[in-house]
């Protein structure tokens, strides 16, 4: 199914999305990669507030290129999500509803997604120049010393993604591959 979804995302809406759905995302999303995740989880452990209210938010795993003069952002495709697996369950438990990235997730992330009603979206790896066109505003909100890895608030319009893993744990990477794999004896 094709869906247009608004970010932030409610649990109700997140639970409606199914693996294989093609989505177009509008609204506010946040960027974070390895270094920002590490810091966010440290803040949680210290009992300090996160740089943004994580409830119902979507985090995009991206470290964009610098914007050329006149542009909102440089090339901005997804990075490999599994590097965030160590941190994601903690954030999902605090209300994170969506993650956008590429590649496999581990069981701990999928279990947290199922119990809290979160979704894992895939963006097209290697299509950073194309994806940048759907980012209409960008603001650095935390950890500027991290450079490309700082946390940014992005306003997106028609951001193209696919539901890879839904809140029931269905996984497009598995089902998609099964249809096309040729097993030779």
């Amino acid at each position: 199914m094709k869906h247009t979804i608004e970010a932030p995302l409610t649990e109700e809406k997140a639970r409606e999305l199914k693996a294989g759905d093609i989505v177009s995302i509008n609204g506010i999303i946040y960027t974070a990669r390895d270094a920002a995740h590490k810091r966010m989880v440290s803040l949680i452990q210290e009992g300090k507030p996160l740089p943004f209210d994580i409830r119902d938010q979507i985090i995009y795993y991206v470290g964009p290129c610098p914007a050329k003069p006149g542009d909102v952002i440089g090339s901005a495709g997804p990075t490999t999500s599994s590097r965030m697996d160590a941190y994601a369950p903690e954030l999902i438990k605090l209300g994170l509803k969506g993650m956008i990235g590429k590649g496999l997730r581990n069981e701990a992330v999928i279990d947290a997604m199922k119990s809290c009603g979160a979704v894992y979206f895939g963006a097209i790896g290697g299509a950073g120049a194309l994806i940048a066109r759907s980012i209409v505003a960008e603001e650095l909100i935390a950890f500027p010393d991290l450079g490309a890895e700082a946390i940014r608030r992005l306003t997106v319009k028609d951001f193209p993604a696919v539901v890879i893993i839904d809140s029931d744990g269905n996984n497009l990477y598995k089902t998609g591959r099964e249809k096309f794999q040729i097993v030779t004896p």
Binding site: C65, P66, L104, G126, A148, R177
Partner: protein, 280 residues
């Protein structure tokens, strides 16, 4: 003895960093188009068409094909009759990288130490491979390497008894394990033989060969073709969503090795198998 000033090295490296990140080479574009025609999965076709469109946008707008503009891998083939003046050659290469990544609005992805992980903020240092060749010219190749795919690469010291079947299994295993992570469709560089580091180097070098040119050693040509076919039977497909086109090409290089060993390295690259060359 021909004299080359480091300024021309700096200038060349600066330009090559930008060019390689903006412009996808023709062999890859052709490979993607061929893949689009052959792909049977709707999702796969859609992803391939977006990747082709992405390359057009990057070229027209002089922007990075992918935000992971890589660690700069620089191959320097230096003629033995060249004398370099004006300062350190290594410093010149790094200065070229520094300027290219800054002026080109490319992402700075290098950390100064693998454990403390402080970003150097200028994408230096590069990984530089020097090679002395005949003649009085310098060939510079800049090949920015993204780590989504680099992280999925592997090396194994096989035993001679495992032979070619062992090599095949390791290639397939590595690609299958990588699954959707390295942004398929991928290009696979394989190095067989030499020592541990030589095999890894050969695998990296193999990625510089256009994907439409096969190894001229008959058994290696066959091996490249067989591996491509078997990888594309895995069903991983573009972006890992399922499909026929998991790889665009497999390039294999070999080197003599020790009586006791059979090193194999598999270096995975995404479709953005970027490299630009110049001869000075």
């Amino acid at each position: 003895m021909r004299t080359i000033h480091i300024d021309s090295i700096i200038e060349a490296v600066e330009k090559l960093c930008m060019d390689s990140n903006y412009y996808l080479n023709d062999d890859i574009i052709k490979g993607l188009e061929k893949g689009f025609n052959a792909e049977e999965s709707d999702n796969g076709k859609e992803i391939l068409s977006k990747i082709i469109e992405n390359a057009k946008i990057a070229k027209e707008r002089s922007m990075a094909i992918c935000q992971d503009t890589g660690m700069a891998v620089v191959f320097m083939d230096i003629g033995q009759d060249v004398h370099i003046t004006g300062g350190s050659l290594t410093d010149a290469v790094n200065e070229g990288v520094r300027r290219g990544y800054e002026k080109g609005y490319l992402r700075k992805s290098v950390v100064r130490d693998p454990i403390d992980r402080i970003n150097t903020k200028d994408n230096t240092p590069a990984v530089i491979h020097y090679n002395i060749i005949d003649g009085d010219k310098i060939k510079i190749t800049v090949a920015p390497k993204g780590f989504g795919s680099e992280n999925m690469s592997g090396l194994k010291m096989l035993t001679p008894s495992q032979g070619i079947e062992g090599v095949k299994s390791f290639i397939i295993e590595t690609v299958e394990k990588a699954g959707p992570n390295p942004c398929p469709p991928i290009v696979v560089g394989v190095g067989i033989g030499g020592t541990m580091e030589k095999a890894a180097f050969l695998a990296k070098k193999a990625l510089l060969r256009p994907i439409d040119i096969r190894n001229d050693v008959p058994y290696l040509k066959e091996l490249e073709e067989e591996m491509l076919e078997r990888i594309n039977r895995l069903g991983i497909g573009p972006s890992g969503l399922g499909g026929r086109i998991t790889a665009l090409g497999v390039n294999i290089e070999v080197y003599p090795t020790h009586i006791a060993g059979l090193p194999v390295a598999v270096n995975i690259n995404c479709h953005a198998t970027r490299h630009s060359e110049i001869i000075i």
